[in-house]
Symmetry: C2
Subunit: 515 residues, 2 copies
C-alpha cells in the first residue's frame, strides 16, 4: 500500500495473511471478468468495499477477514466470487465465560513527550477544550423555558463575555414520567449528574428544575451539600416567581453570575496528557476497518503514550470481537468488568426479544459489512494497541488515564451523550457512508473512510483517511494527522460541525421503563 | 359549592357521600385545632389539598375518596387527622380478568348542534387547527441539518407565505442504533408514520433521511407507492449533493414547493364534530380530580355530544381505576382492547423490575395525592361520562369519532407525542403544581386546578378551574368555558405557550432496546 493507485487499476485490500477474502477499493466497484495484477479474476460484479474470495470457499467453510472468522459459507463461493451478506451464516457470539483475561503483555510503547494544547484548566484538575455555560435540566418540562432563555443569553449576554464560547441547554427527555426506582434508572441519573461536570463547563453548575418532578434537582449535584446544591438550583414552581417573565429574569440573573466567572478563564498551555478523547464510528462501511479506524487507533496510541485518556465504546460493535479485547485488559479485574458489561447488554437485548444481530444497518451492509462480526472487527481497531486500563459502565465518569473501555450502546448520539458524561472533551468520529454528526458540548473531528466521501462532503469531513486505501498515505501518516488535529481542535480550532453550528440534541440512555 | 368562600373560612371538599376523607381547600393549609362550620376539628396540621378524616378510621379500615378505596389505614386515624402518604397501604391493582365489560348503558346525552370553528380542511377529510409545514426526519443524524434549515425557512421563506403558521422539524432520537426488528419497535415506527399525517400539517409530507439508517425513509410513508414516497424524500447521502450548502439548497427547494401549496389553504367554518382533542394532566395535585379534571370531563362530553373526537390516555394513571372504565366501553371488544393495553403495560413495567407505584411523583404527593390509586381516580375524570367507543395502542391513528382511550405512558411529553400521532389537533392540559408545557405541532390549552396557581402563573395558565373549589363557579360553568376556549384556539387564538413560543421537543415512546 505504498504505491499510489491510478484510478483505473483494479485494487483490493487484505490486511491479514490468513484471510480468504479481500475488499474491493475501486470507486463504483468492479465488474465480473475484471482481472487483478496477480491474475485473480472476478466471477461476479463486486461493489466497492465488498468482499471477494481469494480462493474457493466451500459450503460450511469459514470466511476469514482480519484473521478472524466472520461466519461460514452457506453456498459455494468459488475464487473471485462476491461475498454478499447472504453468503455467510452468522456465528454465535464468543462465549464470555471462557475468555482469556489480561493475558497479553503490555506493548512496549515509548512515552511521547513535549506535545501540548491550549486548554482551560479547572479547579478539579480537569482541563476543558471549550469554555461553555451549560444549563442543566432536571426534567424535560423546563426545556421550552430553557430554550427561550438560551436564545436570549446568546443574543444579549454572550457578547458581553467574549471569553465564553457558547451557552448550551442540556435538554433531555428524562426526569419525570419514568420508573425512577427501577434498577436500571441508575444509568440516566448518573449520566445527567456527570454531564453537568464535563470539563468544558468549567465547574459552574446551574440547574433548572420544575419543582414537582421525580428527579429532584438536588440529585444532579451529589457532590455538594444540600445547601450548596440548593444555591445552584432554580425551580420554576418556586412561589417567588410571579409570571413567566420573572422566571426568565431569575434564570438570566443566575446565568450572568456564572458568565462573569467563566469569562475570567483563559486558555493556557496544557500537556497532551490532559486530553480526554472519545472515539466512535457511525455510518460505517468496509473501509472503516482498514482506513479511518486504524488511523484513529494509531492516534489513540499516541495520546495514551503522551499520558492522555482515550475512551472507546459501543457494546454491540465490540461484543463479537471481545475475545480480542479481554487479553488486552491490564488486570483480570478489568477483564471481568468488560465481561460484566457484555453480559448486561446480552440480557438487555434478550429482554427486548432481540440480539446483537439487530446491528448492522442497511447502509453498513451496502457499504460491504456483511454482519455484526465484520463490523465489530473493524470497529475495535479504533482502540489501537494499548492495554485497556479501565472499564466504565454507561455514564460513569473516567477517573483514570490511558485507554478506557466506556460501555455504551452503539447508537451514535446515545454513545456521544454517554462519552460526554464520562468526561470527553474532544471526539473523533469515523464514517464511511457519511453523517453530519455534531455535539454542542464538545468539538467533533469527523474522519472519512473513503476519499470519495471526503471530496463530496468537503465541508463536513475534517480528515480524509481514504488516502490509506489508495496508497497515498500510510496508517501512521494519517494517524499523526489526526493526533495533530486533536491538539489543534482542543486548542480552539473549529471542526466543520462547529463552523456550521450543527449539533444534535442529547440522547439519554434509559434502559428502565417510562411510566 | 355554590356560595363563594371567604379567604379565612375553613373549607373542605368531599364529592361522594361514601367518603370518609375530604380535602382541605384553603391556601396554605389549615392548622391543628381548626374548627369547620359543622364542628369537625383538626387534630393535625393539614396542608392544602391533603386529606382529613371525617370519622375515626381504625388500622386496616379502608380510606375512601370518590366513593372508592384508596387503600387501608396502617395506623389509627382519629376523626380530624391528616391522612399523609404513609398512612395508607397501597392495595393491589384491580385484577383484569374479572372486570365487567360494556355493562353500563350509554348515558342519554342530547346531541349538541350549531357549534363551529374556523379550521383548515384537508383532502383526507380531516381538519387542522393550524397550517404548519412539518419536516419529518427518518433518523436523528439529520436533526442538526434540519434545525439549520428550519431557522433559514423561518427567517427567509415564511414571510413570503403569510398563510402558513409555522415550520416544524419533527426531531426525535429514533431511526438507527435501535433494535428495529424487536417486537416493540412497532410503537416508535407507527408513531413516526402517523405523526407526519397529523391534520395540522395539511398532508404535505416531506421526509429528510440520511441514507444508511435502519428506519429507511420510505417506511415513514406506508400509504404511498415506493415511487410517490421517493418523490417526498431527500437523503443527505444522495451523491447529487456535493457539500453542505447543496443539501441545504435541496431541502429549501422541496420545502418551498410545499409552502406554496400550504399557502393556498384558508380557514373555513367547520363543525365542532371535526375537532380531535387530546386531554392530559401533569403536575397533578389533589384538586385535579375536583376542579380542572371534572371541568375538562364536562367539556369532553360537550365535544362528544357535538360529534367530535376526544382522546384520554396515560396507562399508569388509569390502571387503578380501570374497573370504572371497562363498564363504560361501548362493546366487549373495546373492553378487551382496554384490558390488552393494561396487561401489556403491567408486563412492560415488570420487565424493568418496577410497577405502577413508580407513579406518583414527589410533587403529586406534596399536592395531596397519597398514591397512584388516588391519582388515577382523579385522572380518569377528564374522560367525562360518555361511552368509550374505541381503544388505540400507543401511536395508532384515530379512525372513529367520540370518546377514545388512546393508551400511552403518563409521561407528559411521551403522551403528547403519541396523541399527536393519533391525530390530535388541540390539547387540553390540566395542572395543579404548574408546568410551562407546550407542543410545536398543536396548540395546548392549560387549565390550572387552583386559583393560587392561575394567579401566580397568570401568563402561562389559560383557564382557572380553581373557582370550582372556592365556589365561585360550577363544574358546568368552567366546562363550558373550556369548550368555548377549545373552539377559539382551534380557530387560531394562541394559548399562552404559543404566545411565548414555548414548545418541547417530541419524546418518542420506544419500549424496544437501543443497540
Amino acid at each position: 500500500m505504498t504505491t499510489p493507485a491510478t484510478t483505473d487499476r483494479p485494487r483490493r485490500i487484505c490486511l491479514d495473511a490468513r484471510d480468504n477474502v479481500a475488499i474491493v477499493v475501486n470507486s463504483g466497484g468492479l465488474k465480473k471478468g475484471t482481472v487483478f495484477d496477480d491474475g485473480l479474476t472476478l466471477v461476479d460484479d463486486v461493489p466497492q468495499g465488498h468482499k471477494v474470495t481469494l480462493s474457493d470457499v466451500a459450503v460450511g467453510e469459514a470466511v476469514i477477514r482480519y484473521g478472524e472468522i466472520l461466519g461460514h459459507a452457506v453456498r459455494p463461493l468459488p475464487k473471485g466470487s462476491w461475498v454478499d451478506e447472504f453468503a455467510i451464516e452468522l456465528p454465535e457470539a464468543p462465549a464470555l465465560e471462557t475468555l482469556p483475561l489480561a493475558t497479553r503483555p503490555a506493548p512496549k510503547h515509548e512515552p511521547l513527550e513535549g506535545f501540548t494544547f491550549m486548554g482551560y484548566r479547572n479547579a478539579d484538575g480537569s482541563v476543558g477544550t471549550r469554555n461553555i455555560l451549560a444549563i442543566s435540566e432536571s426534567v424535560q418540562c423546563v426545556a421550552g423555558v430553557v430554550d427561550h432563555v438560551v436564545a436570549i443569553i446568546r443574543e444579549t449576554l454572550l457578547p458581553k463575555y467574549p471569553n465564553v464560547d457558547d451557552v448550551v441547554g442540556l435538554g433531555h427527555v428524562y426526569g419525570c414520567g419514568v420508573a425512577i426506582n427501577a434498577p436500571a434508572a441508575i444509568v440516566p441519573i448518573r449520566t445527567l449528574q456527570n454531564l453537568a461536570q464535563n470539563p468544558n463547563f468549567g465547574g459552574e453548575v446551574l440547574v433548572i428544575g420544575l419543582g414537582c418532578e421525580k428527579l429532584q434537582p438536588e440529585r444532579l449535584m451529589p457532590n455538594l451539600s444540600k445547601e450548596d446544591a440548593a444555591a445552584n438550583i432554580l425551580s420554576l414552581q418556586d412561589e417567588r416567581f410571579v409570571g413567566f417573565q420573572a422566571m426568565v429574569d431569575g434564570i438570566l440573573e443566575m446565568a450572568e453570575a456564572r458568565l462573569k466567572v467563566l469569562n475570567q478563564r483563559r486558555r493556557e498551555p496544557c500537556p497532551a496528557s490532559a486530553l480526554v478523547v472519545g472515539v466512535q464510528c457511525g455510518g460505517s462501511d468496509a473501509f472503516s476497518g482498514v482506513t479511518a479506524n486504524p488511523a484513529v487507533g494509531y492516534a489513540a496510541d499516541l495520546i495514551v503514550r503522551a499520558g492522555g485518556t482515550v475512551m472507546f465504546s459501543e457494546v454491540t460493535e465490540v461484543r463479537d470481537a471481545v475475545h480480542l479485547l479481554t487479553p488486552r485488559c491490564a488486570t483480570e479485574e478489568v477483564g471481568r468488568a468488560m465481561l460484566r458489561e457484555m453480559a448486561w447488554y446480552d440480557r438487555y437485548l434478550a429482554s427486548g426479544e432481540t440480539d446483537r444481530a439487530a446491528n448492522p444497518s442497511p447502509g453498513n451492509k451496502k457499504g460491504g459489512l456483511a454482519n455484526v462480526v465484520e463490523k465489530a472487527l473493524g470497529s475495535i481497531i479504533k482502540s489501537g494497541s494499548s492495554q485497556i486500563g479501565a472499564v466504565l459502565a454507561p455514564g460513569e465518569r473516567a477517573v483514570t488515564k490511558g485507554l478506557i473501555y466506556a460501555a455504551t450502546p452503539a447508537s451514535d448520539f446515545v454513545c456521544g451523550t454517554l462519552q460526554l458524561a464520562s468526561g470527553m472533551t474532544v471526539q473523533v468520529f469515523t464514517t464511511g457512508r457519511g453523517t453530519p454528526y455534531g455535539l454542542a458540548a464538545a468539538p467533533v473531528i469527523k474522519v472519512a473512510t473513503r476519499t470519495d466521501l471526503a471530496k463530496r462532503w468537503h465541508d463536513l469531513m475534517d480528515i480524509d483517511a481514504g488516502t490509506i486505501a489508495t496508497g497515498h498515505e500510510t496508517v501512521e501518516e494519517v494517524g499523526w494527522r489526526i493526533f495533530r488535529e486533536i491538539l489543534d481542535v482542543a486548542s480552539g480550532k473549529k471542526p466543520w460541525s462547529d463552523r456550521w453550528g450543527l449539533r444534535n440534541s442529547l440522547a439519554l440512555f434509559n434502559p428502565a421503563p417510562v411510566t
